[in-house]
Subunit: 423 residues, 2 copies
């Protein structure tokens, strides 16, 4: 009987060996595996659904909520989408090998900085089984070996998907250990994984804040984190009214449950009397509950619009729902200070016709993405043109904002000399 | 009486506020502070030496080793060098604000990726007081706020240096909290610092492996690590003999106590009979002890050169001394496998006249810097043209290899629209 540490030691050694081989595979080899995988997913729909049914039965027996059961469910349509996403990753350019810089030093050394895979990436995720395939595809295309650890609710679904991935590697003559799947929900194994920094170069947690915090506090290796998104839209005194309505509606209501939706609306005092009633009216019509500070409350009251008073705790809350806090700011500077104090440095936007105000806002707001006259909802790998993403990083090191294939890479220096030695 | 958590909370809030202001300072403001600092260091030599004397007296009373006392010692020459390094940092280009990418999306959004400071950087270091000034200068020039925590042996020296830094900021009309210094050696304060990920965006430990490991295991925020350097020089079958001697000598003996010196010499079997005796002879003349595998031992014995047999533990050991392990490899591939197994992915070199062998070596060796016909000793921020460095990262995320001003930065996306919303 292996201990969790022995199990992870074995997995880690396999991954390291696979990473050294897979990391130098060219684009043709990588794409061949991905095409093989999408084909095997399509031809494997029946067995995927059968495995998934076991998870659904167990989940219902265990009393999982309807929302969790929905996340867990795979059907032919969702499986086809999974295969399509693998094909999309295959179609993306190979990030590995690109020359990032080249300098010739006075002593004649030629130094090239080139993009290489990170090495071994661990992914720890919760109940959505599609994460198994999505993350494997992104890690494979970026030349990394992956160690996947999913939630126990999806264990049968993940097992069959991991098997299809490994079969695809093998069918193409590649090492199946480029993707390994942790076949136990034992938390001691996850804990051992987080300590194995001699084998795993980076951990990506995908799930709720509790999971991410657990990983960040226990991992010895770097973690690419995706904490919550407390985002604001600021309507400047020179904001266009129609654009303000359109962007506020989009940023709050187009998909309220995601990280780049807004939670706070900040309005410049000079514009509030005219702007806020119009914007608020449109939001209220979309069933948005407004939580107003004192000055906003007075304006909403005068306009006979419904609201509740905002509490201090509202400003930093990610509602992920049709709820929006509203604050009046005396100045652009006060708006920026509010955002830098309460928001999570994720996605922020200003609506203004004044380019100077936009420039100040973009420079002084400390966030991964700062939008001028556009919705915060665009902070996304697809919308930024990166192709697929593994998440949106709220870290400042390595990757900030959307994490695509390039962000799953590191770099190395190749230095060519003619016998140079150091003095 | 404050708890360690309250103390760090206050320091963290100050740092965050300072980072927002200092992070948008232009190069002129930053350089003015650095010039002020180098002037104050020069005019403060006497009080720096007086403070340092207190540390030296305490250190001698506590029985510190001669080596530690030497590291701790500041004299007029060392203080002048410290001031010169500050001037050198002032002379480096400002990394902040540079546009890294610009794309125009089909929907008209203009997305710019620009370099910005990381925010708040914590530095935890040991007994060299010059680290206080070196790290402060690099953090200030890269627009970051710094929280410095030095070793207790240097507490008086660090106190006066931190005071000079803060006085320089104040004299230039800037917030002194851009650099804060932890005025207590209490380890509970350091522990609280490592948990304060809401304020500190990154920790850089500077010191021995024990310190780095402690920080990596306890920090909740990203850590830029500088673990040890187990580096190899590989002499290929097509290696030039004179160049092999020159590079082996330089990489081992020019400064054996540093991370980019070599610990292993790997020689291709086909070249070993002719090459190894010549290279070994030169090393032995420089008092290098050779630890040989069986085949190398036979060759050294035949050449009447001194050696000791290598043990398994030798291959992964960072001697930091005039000791070198010697291994014979059957092939380039075996040499690469050996390096990828035992070395610490820091700096590796091949000597060969065969460009194809060099290309394979550089591609398949997994290390921060891979040299062809040049000494590993060049893996260094100055030698790479980055200017000053804060260390050489053995991580693969964010920064790999020398960490200069650019590596002390993050980026953000500035997105300009004309009212775009997401479908």
């Amino acid at each position: 009987m292996q201990t969790p540490e022995q199990y992870i030691e074995q997995i880690g050694q396999n991954a390291r060996a696979a990473a050294l081989v897979w990391g130098v595979a060219d684009a043709a080899r990588k794409n061949a595996v991905l095409k093989e995988l999408s084909a095997r997913i399509r031809s494997g729909v029946e067995k995927i659904i059968a495995a998934n049914q076991k998870d659904l039965d167990a989940g219902k027996a265990a009393g999982l909520s309807a929302a969790l059961i929905d996340r867990l469910t795979l059907n032919p349509e969702r499986i086809e989408k999974m295969a399509q996403r693998v094909d999309q990753v295959a179609a993306l350019p190979d990030p590995v090998g690109e020359q990032l810089e080249r300098v010739v030093r006075p002593n004649g050394l030629v130094i090239r900085k080139v993009r290489v895979p990170i090495g071994v990436i661990g992914v720890i995720y919760e109940s959505r089984p599609n994460v198994t395939v999505d993350c494997a595809a992104l890690c494979l295309k970026s030349g990394n070996a992956a160690i996947l650890r999913g939630g126990k609710e999806a264990i049968h679904s993940n097992a069959i998907l991991a098997q299809l991935i490994r079969e695809s590697l093998q069918a193409c003559g590649e090492t199946p250990d480029a993707v390994q799947w942790i076949n136990t929900p034992d938390r001691a194994v996850m804990a051992a994984m987080l300590k194995a920094d001699q084998y795993i170069h980076c951990i990506i947690p995908r799930g709720g804040e509790g999971l991410i915090r657990f990983v960040a506090e226990n991992a010895r290796m770097p973690v690419i984190k995706h904490y919550n998104g407390v985002c604001s839209l600021y309507l400047d005194k020179d904001a266009d009214a129609a654009m303000s309505v359109q962007i506020a509606l989009n940023a709050k209501t187009q998909r309220p449950g995601v990280c780049n939706a807004i939670e706070n609306l900040v309005v410049h005092e000079d514009a509030a009397q005219t702007l806020l009633p119009v914007v608020a009216q449109a939001l209220v019509e979309k069933n948005v509950q407004l939580r107003a500070d004192e000055r906003a409350a007075a304006i909403l009251k005068a306009a006979a619009l419904p609201f509740v008073p905002a509490q201090e705790a509202d400003w930093g809350t990610e509602y992920l729902d049709l709820v929006l806090s509203v604050k009046i700011a005396d100045s652009l500077e006060e708006a920026v200070a509010f955002i830098n104090r309460y928001d999570s440095a994720h996605s922020e936007a200003i609506v203004t016709n004044n380019p100077e105000a936009a420039r100040i806002f973009q420079t002084t707001v400390d966030a991964a993405a700062v939008f001028w006259n556009a919705s915060t909802r665009f902070n996304d790998g697809f919308e930024f043109g990166l192709g697929a993403e593994i998440g949106i990083s709220t870290d400042r090191l390595h990757a900030r904002g959307p994490v695509g294939l390039r962000e799953l890479c590191s770099y190395k220096y190749l230095v060519d000399g003619t016998g140079q030695v150091r003095n």
